[in-house]
């Protein structure tokens, strides 16, 4: 399982002068317009999340019982919810929650998974065998069931929700990274590093990890979308982020379903936001995968 394209990418990211960076981005846009659209949407979301305080017309948690369930209008572009809170403002602030949980879970999950995967491949033998069995056990749980159990144990503060989403991702990442790392272990430069007397930690961190960068990036982008989806599912079940925090999944819970007929805007827009965000991440991730390593198609 050779991953030769990986090396080119690492080089162009690490050492190329800045103008080659731009050339790379320009090529990406030209060759993969869909991916570029995805990246643009993600970039807009990040900007919206950062400047939520400036962009949101209202306080996302300000209750206004006089203006309950009002239709989309000039004052409230996307209407208000059952507490009279402005839906648009809650959507804008909700992007913070989504991105925070998404990036948090995807980064931690794919980094821990990569270290485990590379370590497992590098040491091999008994450690590899035991780690693989452990991963098998975690992989036998459906994502949401494992996350549910962890939230139940830790409670549903936002960092616990991130943790609950991270745990099921680790073995999924370790599995893929391990198979890439197995072929890297046989490379002459790893032998050379060993011969030069470098320690295990140095070989793993400096020599092997950079070379699984391609699958790592691909996995991370695909985890980003999944994490946002999982967070919204947990919040929808009432087991994720709690009221009054603005979170998209939470906005779909309870009143949004009860009043679906009278106030459809409450149910429509948060779902659109979730779909658009995950769609953008997936679009970008897909193109990234095609560009970096078409072999990892099954993710």
């Amino acid at each position: 399982m050779a991953i030769s394209p990986a090396r080119d990418v690492v080089v162009s990211v690490d050492e190329a002068p800045s103008h080659r960076w731009w050339a790379g981005i320009r090529d990406f846009i030209r060759q993969r317009p869909l991916g570029a659209v995805g990246a643009a949407v993600v970039a807009i979301m990040v900007v919206v999340a950062i400047f939520a305080g400036v962009l949101a017309p209202y306080d996302p948690v300000a209750v206004d019982f006089a203006g309950m369930l009002s239709k989309p209008s000039a004052q409230h572009w996307l209407g208000t919810d059952a507490f009279g809170r402005d839906v648009l403002s809650r959507l804008i602030y909700g992007s913070r929650t989504a991105l925070f949980v998404g990036f948090g879970a995807a980064l931690v999950g794919s980094m821990l998974g990569s270290v485990l995967g590379v370590g497992s491949a590098y040491f091999g033998g008994r450690l590899d065998l035991y780690l693989q069995r452990l991963m098998d056990i975690f992989l036998s749980f459906p994502l949401i069931i494992l996350a549910l159990a962890i939230v139940a144990i830790l409670g549903n503060a936002i960092h616990n929700v991130i943790m609950a989403i991270t745990v099921p991702m680790i073995p999924r990442c370790a599995l893929v990274i391990r198979s890439s790392a197995l072929s890297i272990r046989e490379m002459p430069y790893v032998d050379a590093a060993r011969a030069a007397g470098f320690g295990h930690a140095r070989i793993i961190l400096r020599h092997m990890l950079p070379n699984v960068m391609a699958p790592f990036l691909i996995l991370m982008t695909s985890f980003l979308g999944q994490a946002i989806l999982l967070e919204s599912s947990l919040s929808f079940l009432g087991l994720g982020v709690q009221e009054p925090t603005a979170a998209w999944g939470l906005m779909l819970r309870g009143a949004a379903v009860e009043f679906a007929e009278a106030a459809p805007w409450m149910a429509i827009f948060p779902g659109l936001a979730i779909s658009l965000a995950v769609f953008a991440f997936n679009l970008f991730g897909d193109s990234l995968r095609d560009a970096l390593d078409p072999k990892l198609r099954s993710l």
Binding site: L134, A152, L252, A256, V278
Partner: protein
């Protein structure tokens, strides 16, 4: 190959044991226990003694490893004990909901297969045309749309357009098939769309890979009709990864319906699981997880067998 399969067969057992241990101890770390929660509703003050007595009834006062051994011994004989919340046998609790979840899972699979295979094939044949782009966008959107939200949208559309809602009380298929299908088709579509997205992508990439093989070029060179090349030569070889993905997704569907069942107010295994966790109903949570994980592990192994059976290159290795 036989050696590999035998090894895989015997590896199923430590994995199952691991799953059993993991869920047994995980659920016991959750703060609060079933006895406290159940008695909390009865009266405002419950004496420590009553709590202790109730716990003793479920064997919760014994050392944890002893509880584990007792439970495991039962589980090995498919005796999962009684629900700690309702007191009914686990078998009864699950039997009620299993039919519903299984039917929903099967219907979603049918939806997924009917959508995914034609779409995936046409997308691969017409690679990089507008048809391909459309199919890819549809399938990426399928991965992005939360199925519970899709469910809400379906309900909303029916309310607004038809002024009609699917019946909310579950009717078993053998009582009134039409009523039953009317009710379950919507959740099946909502779940099936996401499911089909996974399968479409797999079909497309497997077809693309196969279409580049030498034997396809040979078939073309000898002047075989394109239709036959696709159906006889390409599709047969591309189906293996597709079937795998469909089977594995199916195994997870039983547990993955958690959120969709909530939207459609369906009393299936997913809803049961959420309630069981909320009630700290240890025995029920354990049984449900063992069923879902066990099913997944067995399907995984079965897929290995199918691979070996279908692909002589693997069989003779």
């Amino acid at each position: 190959m036989r050696k590999y399969l035998i090894k895989r067969f015997f590896l199923m057992f430590p994995t199952l044991l691991g799953v059993a241990m993991l869920i047994f101890f995980l659920i016991r770390i959750v703060p609060g226990d079933v006895v406290e929660l159940r008695l909390a509703g009865d009266s405002n003050s419950v004496s420590e003694q009553t709590l202790a007595e109730e716990r003793a009834k479920f064997g919760l006062d014994r050392p944890v490893w002893e509880q584990f051994i007792t439970w495991l011994w039962g589980a090995l004989r498919f005796d999962f004990g009684k629900s700690m919340w309702t007191g009914a046998p686990i078998y009864e609790e699950i039997k009620l909901r299993f039919a519903l979840s299984l039917q929903l899972a099967i219907m979603a699979t049918i939806v997924a297969v009917l959508l995914a295979i034609p779409l995936g094939i046409i997308s691969a044949i017409k690679q990089d045309t507008w048809i391909d782009y459309t199919v890819r966008i549809i399938s990426i959107a399928g991965l992005a749309t939360p199925s519970f939200w899709l469910g809400i949208v379906f309900i909303l559309l029916m309310l607004i357009i038809f002024k009609w809602l699917p019946p909310m009380v579950y009717t078993p298929f053998w009582v009134n098939p039409w009523q039953n299908l009317l009710q379950l088709i919507w959740p099946a579509l909502a779940v099936g769309y996401r499911y089909s997205a996974v399968a479409t992508r797999m079909t497309r990439s497997a077809m693309l890979e196969v279409l580049r093989e030498d034997y396809i070029r040979t078939a073309r060179a000898k002047g075989l009709v394109e239709k036959l090349i696709l159906s006889r030569h390409a599709l047969k070889n591309a189906m293996l990864p597709v079937v795998t993905v469909i089977a594995l997704e199916f195994a997870f569907l039983l547990g993955g319906l958690v959120v969709t069942e909530q939207v459609f107010n369906l009393n299936g295994l997913g809803l049961l699981f959420v309630q069981a966790v909320a009630h700290r109903d240890y025995t029920l949570v354990q049984a449900l997880v063992m069923i879902v994980a066990g099913f997944f592990i067995v399907v995984n192994f079965a897929m290995d067998l199918v691979y070996a059976w279908l692909d002589p290159r693997i069989r003779f290795r």
